[in-house]
């Protein structure tokens, strides 16, 4: 009987059955099941048959799962035992392998964390995407104080604005605690709503409304009030002002371009005669909050000439710079901190890459020695899939150990890393799921890649051939390995070059003669009290043998911000030339204190009574900028101050070597003095300091005695570069170390391979040195190749970095040659150990089995 319609059992269930049944009998089983199904179908009907069939399918499931899990675990336990034994057998190798990868992982974790932190600056604000800083075309964020109010009323796209000004060190006092706090700023009340400042106590909307208020950070609250309630208490500011605490906020996060520990309302500065609504000069920052979904470029077009409209001498266009870009990007040039972010990201990638390559190389090299093991296993019944599983579990086990070790390294190195980078990372970030997933992914990937050679290639061997020893091993993949080694060494050489150049540049800067004497120069802020009695105080000081010279100025060297330069300069023969200049207010002893040199004319002198009112001394840069041939005697007018040039001073670097020396004019303007600089004899500095301390305590009894030394300030100015230089050098050592590990492993592998050849050569009379040369020659070739690859890349990137400095070294060819030689030496050292070991081997051992 031919059935017109085949009554087939449920399709899904039959698939499940086929899957769960042992392969050799599944054909028969399928038929049997079908027979039973029809039988039950006839006897009990469709529904029962359906249920029965599914029952059968499901009933097979538990035992299948149990069996596979049980056997998998048993086999896994066996593989792990073997893996452990293998590791112990070649403990040197294994340690190198694991160590290399662990270091690579640790570096990557640290660097990635740093990069993430840098990229997160200022992104925590609720309004981060709509917050901007008003910036001039030259990158300066210092704007007129009238700007904020004007923008807010004139442009509907603007939701709110706030002015922002830093306070220098100010005296804060509550009961018995008083300190010169440096974290103070003044803002408009709207600041607290525009920027996300998390208030713990008090109301951000009203906290800064009254002029005599202050909001403080949690740390400050604890410092001054302990566990008492801070809000409502009165703190004393700068002796004269009593301020009520109207709010306490959570310590402001470190990843922002702004840093402050207390805020005063800007209104209060009116009390010390500050003009808060003028266009005449720039002294404040203006932050702008735009309405959501407003296109900032539209607003840029509108505000571009606002400042020029109100003050025609300042023609700089104004625009809005997103605050999320402030930390990382320079405004009017490409680059800025973002380059370092890129550099370190690349560094992390390189190091991890090198470490993984290493791991793969070494594991692969080692495993070709296990051909015999493969043969044995196959002879006693292992299937190819078993072998694949075994080799993969071994390599993943190794990478797993490396991962754990790497994480341990990170925990250990975290304090050091924090101190170098100046950040404050804690261990919690390690436990963030995203990082863990990424890391596990990378380690598993490396494990799979490393294990793939033995797993996929070795497992193919025919047992008989392998046990007999005839299988050719290890020749496959050799060119690939060569490429990997070359890549590793190029990266290392690149890093060596980078370190050398950075080191040289920093040395150059720090030791360069800046044109003025900055050793043992003490400086500190002063105010009216000091100035009123200046002459007396100064002569008293000079009587002390420790004090060489005393001078007053408005801004001490290296404290300049020349972005606030101006162009309102007029001189004889100016025509249409434009010039940017800064005004340095000095006194008669400035030249002597700083050891400056005059190149034309003379310096200010008490002998000439007109000097005090009308004399200008300019620097050589000013002469060049103004295009004067004989500056001495020419008229000069800056703003409304007329005068004659009496002398030219030799250029000196009054700000950091990042900038070229800009034109400067010196004049005696006593009302501008705010710093006193004192040159101290190097003989007995502590004695001089205590003398000065006594002096200052007499003048300013309520203020703690605080000062700085100029050379410290200068050194700190370069701290970022130094930190970065340090970091890069550490990572370079690591990269080199890892590459050497790789080379070491590879060399031993090659030596192993050529055992017989070496044995024969020895028998025929070769010397040890000849053999070492023979074996090393190949590697030296690779390292030379790596050099050729690395040099152009290093040249390119280093030049880009050096652009940041106005004064830079010329790298010169010697550095390249030096790094090349270093690399070759390191490689030679690594390889020769293996070569020598092989060369001393007894030929009888290697040739025994021929």
């Amino acid at each position: 009987m031919i059935l017109r319609k085949i009554k087939s059992p449920p399709k899904t269930a039959s698939c499940i059955l086929k899957f769960l049944i042992n392969g050799s009998v599944s054909y028969g089983a399928a038929g049997d099941f079908y027979e039973q199904y029809l039988y039950i179908l006839k006897k009990h009907g469709r529904f029962v048959a359906f249920i029965w069939y599914w029952q059968q399918a499901i009933q097979l499931l538990p035992s299948f799962i149990f069996n596979s899990i049980f056997w998998s675990i048993t086999m896994l336990a066996s593989y792990l035992k073997i893996a452990y034994r293998n590791i112990k057998k070649q403990i040197g190798f294994s340690v190198i392998n694991i160590l290399g990868l662990a270091i690579g992982i640790a570096c990557t974790i640290l660097i990635v964390q740093w990069v993430r932190d840098e990229l997160s600056y200022d992104r925590f604000h609720k309004n981060a995407d709509e917050l901007y800083a008003a910036t001039f075309s030259n990158g300066s964020k210092t704007t007129p104080s009238a700007l904020a109010g004007y923008i807010k009323t004139e442009y509907p796209e603007v939701s709110n604005t706030s002015r922002y000004a830093g306070l220098g060190r100010r005296l804060i006092k509550y009961k018995n605690t008083k300190t010169m706090e440096s974290g103070g700023v003044m803002t408009d009340p709207g600041f607290l709503e525009m920027f996300t400042v998390n208030f713990l106590k008090g109301d951000p909307e009203t906290a800064l409304k009254k002029p005599r208020s202050i909001v403080i950070s949690k740390s400050l609250a604890e410092k001054y009030f302990g566990s008492e309630e801070a809000v409502g208490k009165i703190m004393n500011f700068q002796v004269r002002y009593d301020l009520t605490v109207t709010g306490v906020f959570e310590d402001y996060p470190a990843n922002s371009h702004l840093q402050f520990s207390y805020i005063l309302p800007l209104e209060i500065s009116k009390e010390w005669k500050r003009n808060l609504n003028t266009w005449e000069y720039n002294n404040i920052r203006t932050y702008v909050l735009l309405n959501k979904n407003t296109d900032p470029s539209q607003v840029d077009k509108k505000i571009s000439n606002v400042v020029e409209k109100h003050r025609p001498q300042d023609k700089r266009p104004l625009s809005l710079q997103p605050i999320t870009r402030l930390h990382l990007y320079n405004f009017n040039s490409s680059g800025g901190r973002i380059t370092y972010v890129y550099v370190f990201s690349a560094l992390a990638f390189f190091i991890l890459f090198i470490a993984c390559i290493n791991f793969i190389n070494l594991t692969t090299a080692r495993s070709s020695a296990r051909a015999k093991e493969v043969g044995m296993r196959k002879a006693v019944g292992a299937r190819r899939s078993d072998l694949i599983r075994q080799f993969f579990s071994e390599s993943i086990l190794l990478t797993g150990i490396s991962l754990i070790l790497g994480i341990c390294f990170v925990v250990l190195l975290l304090p050091v890393f924090n101190s170098i980078t100046g950040k404050n990372f804690s261990v919690e970030f390690l436990l963030k799921t995203s990082s863990l997933i990424a890391l596990s992914g990378i380690t598993v990937l490396t494990g799979i890649l490393a294990g793939s050679y033995p797993a996929l290639f070795l497992s193919r061997f025919h047992p008989v051939k392998v046990l007999r020893g005839a299988a050719g091993t290890g020749t496959k993949g050799a060119p690939f390995r060569k490429v990997l080694v070359v890549i590793q060494f190029s990266l290392s050489i690149f890093l060596i070059l980078g370190t050398f150049i950075i080191y040289n540049q920093l040395n150059f800067i720090i030791n360069r003669d800046m044109g003025f004497d900055n050793k043992n120069v003490f400086y500190t802020n002063i105010s009216g009290r000091f100035l009123n009695n200046y002459e007396t105080i100064k002569s008293e000081m000079l009587q002390n043998p420790g004090i060489q010279s005393v001078t007053l100025t408005n801004i001490a060297p290296y404290r300049w911000n020349t972005n606030a330069g101006f162009g309102d300069v007029h001189w004889e023969g100016k025509k249409d030339r434009k010039v940017k200049m800064v005004m340095n207010s000095v006194d008669y002893d400035y030249l002597k204190t700083f050891g400056l040199k005059i190149s034309e004319g003379r310096f200010f002198s008490k002998q000439y009574s007109a000097d005090a009112a009308e004399a200008y001394v300019i620097n050589e840069a000013a002469v060049r900028a103004m295009g004067m041939d004989a500056p001495v005697g020419k008229n000069l007018r800056i703003w409304d101050m007329k005068g004659k040039i009496i002398g030219v001073v030799k250029d000196y670097n009054f700000e950091s070597l990042h900038n070229r020396i800009i034109p400067m004019a010196m004049k005696i303007i006593p009302s501008w003095y705010s710093n006193v600089c004192i040159k101290i004899n190097s003989g007995n500095i502590p004695a001089a300091l205590s003398f000065l301390e006594n002096k200052f305590k007499k003048i300013y009894p309520e203020y703690p005695f605080e000062y700085s030394f100029l050379d410290d300030t200068i050194r700190m100015r370069y701290s970022t570069e130094q930190a970065i230089g340090k970091l890069i050098s550490y990572f370079t050592y690591l990269a080199i170390f890892i590459s050497c590990l790789g080379l070491f492993g590879l060399a031993s592998f090659t030596a192993e391979q050529r055992k017989k050849e070496i044995g024969i050569r020895k028998v025929l009379g070769a010397q040890v040195s000849g053999l070492v040369l023979l074996l090393s020659r190949e590697f030296i070739k690779w390292v030379l190749l790596a050099n050729i690859v690395a040099w152009p890349a290093a040249w390119f990137f280093m030049n880009k970095w050096l652009q940041e400095f106005a004064y830079k070294i010329d790298p010169g060819i010697s550095i390249f040659i030096l790094s090349g030689i270093t690399a070759i030496l390191i490689a030679l050292l690594t390889v020769s150990y293996q070569a020598v070991k092989a060369a001393y081997g007894n030929p009888a051992d290697t040739l025994k089995y021929e």
Binding site: I21, G23, A29, Y34, E35, Q36, Q59
Partner: protein, 107 residues
Amino acid sequence: MRLLSRTEEIILATVWRLKDEAYGIEISNHINKNTGLNWKFGAIYSPLGRLVDNDYLKTFEGVPTPERGGRRKVYYQLTDKGIQALKELQNVHSAVWINMPSLEVNK
């Protein structure tokens, strides 16, 4: 040679008994009916498969029938190795069980 496990023993013995009729369903029913063991129908295929892999059993195929959806019936037969294993087991078994004192424990 290693001794057969219990399941293997039961299956091989049944296959021997069933001579030419030994296929999946028949083996399973026979065991369940005669020994009282309540083995699930599908559970027999795992041990059957292992026995085939280890060369205790060999298979031969019958005629395709419509009741099986056009597939052939797969019959199982003992190989020499399988017969050998059963013989050995029988020897060991009789040696162990012959003249066994009663398993009743008298208090």
